[in-house]
């Protein structure tokens, strides 16, 4: 067996599990709390103005993080999950970049439901790291210890 693809597969597994656990933790902290709390964070970004839409997003986004986070940890629909989580990381990064460029001072990025406080630049770098993990998970995430392998999944949402 060639060493490099094997190492790549293990790296894919590590990226998938770490990224999944991060999103499970971040999503659980927010989903367990009342939606109005996360809604305040979304308001602060200044990108969405409709109060109803903000509340829907505040109720829905954390669950998306938890479900796709677990899907990554277990290696289920790995490519789809990595794409969704990677897309969310890139979107958060753009939202943060928007606040930095507009000079909006966030009391908290809301990433971990107030459980962790970082500078906006730190948060931006962190989202870049998650996006890189998502790319690796997308490429080789289901090659080792995954439910996709157990299910015999093929195609764009399954085995890489």
């Amino acid at each position: 067996m060639n060493g490099r693809p094997a190492a790549d597969a293990w790296l894919g597994l590590a990226a998938r599990v770490v990224l999944g656990l991060v999103f499970v933790a971040a999503g659980t902290l927010k989903a367990a709390a009342p939606a109005e709390e996360f809604a305040l964070v979304i308001e602060t970004y200044g990108l969405v103005t409709s109060r109803d839409l903000i509340l829907v997003m505040a109720a829905f986004l954390p669950w998306l993080e938890v479900v796709f986070g677990y899907a990554l940890v277990f290696g289920f629909l790995t490519r789809l999950s990595a794409a969704v989580i990677g897309g969310m990381s890139v979107s958060f990064a753009f939202a943060l970049l928007f606040t930095i460029l507009k000079g909006i001072r966030l009391p908290d990025c809301g990433c971990f439901g107030f459980g962790m406080q970082m500078t906006q630049h730190g948060e931006l770098a962190m989202n870049g790291l998650w996006a890189a993990c998502a790319v690796q998970a997308f490429r080789r995430g289901s090659a080792r210890l995954s439910l996709d392998a157990w299910c015999g999944a093929d195609g764009p949402t399954g085995r890489t």
Binding site: R51, L147, G152, A153
Partner: protein, 226 residues
């Protein structure tokens, strides 16, 4: 027994993912136990039998809370005998002077002047918690605490409080314990930021949610109870 066909395995896997998600969130929610101590009478204003009860969790060092004071006063004026306000302290961890300020407000409350001290503390927030000069670090905490204490003693003097009783109260562990009780209640109610308002139990976080949702909610409550 584990499923054998690919479709059954996929369904089983999807169920496992959804179950794990639901269990995590429910477990975290369940880990928070209800806690609702009574607030001292001096931190309540309005008629005891008011149809609308507003519970405010606030931090005297928080600028956003300062901006909510005016709208809240207007709201209480608008609804008169129909509304009652109960103030609870929620000193945020990053606001190092919020606990001494909360204790000082309660000490004024013991002498019947809580609301006057509350207003003075918000109006003069930058006096007892001065912003550091641009590009400079804030002064060391003991120095900032000394500045704040001096300001609180001057407000006590302005409000004609008994200075010795007020100064003794600032160091009274019972006063600090009362603030800590509010913080425990805030944790039990998942209050994460300030100001947070509960109007007959419905949550509004921040001045914007209060302004956009609070008044229509109160109108609805009053219509229902008429």
């Amino acid at each position: 027994m584990l499923p054998r066909t690919p479709l059954a395995r996929r369904l089983w896997s999807a169920s496992a993912v959804l179950l794990a998600s639901a269990v995590s969130v429910q477990a975290l929610r369940g880990s928070v136990k209800p806690y609702a101590p009574d607030s001292p009478a001096y931190r309540q204003k309005g008629e005891p039998g008011a149809r609308v009860v507003i519970v405010e969790f606030s931090d005297l060092q928080c600028p956003a809370c300062r901006f909510a004071v005016g709208p809240m006063k207007d709201m209480l004026k608008l609804y008169g005998a129909d509304a009652r306000l109960i103030f609870k302290h929620f000193p945020l961890g990053q606001h190092k002077l919020a606990v001494p300020a909360a204790v000082a407000a309660d000490c004024a409350g013991r002498q019947g002047r809580f609301w006057e001290f509350h207003d003075l503390a918000y109006e003069n927030q930058l006096e007892w918690n001065p912003a550091p000069p641009p590009g400079k670090e804030p002064a060391p905490l003991p120095e900032r605490e000394k500045t704040a204490r001096k300001a609180f003693l001057s407000y006590a003097k302005k409000l004609r409080l008994d200075p010795a009783a007020f100064a003794a109260c600032l160091d009274d562990p019972a006063a600090a314990a009362l603030v800590e009780e509010d913080r425990r209640e805030a944790d039990a109610r998942w209050v994460l930021s300030t100001p947070t308002f509960f109007i007959n139990g419905k949550r509004f976080v921040g001045a914007r949610q209060l302004a956009e949702g609070g008044v229509p909610w109160i109108e609805k409550l009053l219509k229902e109870k008429r």
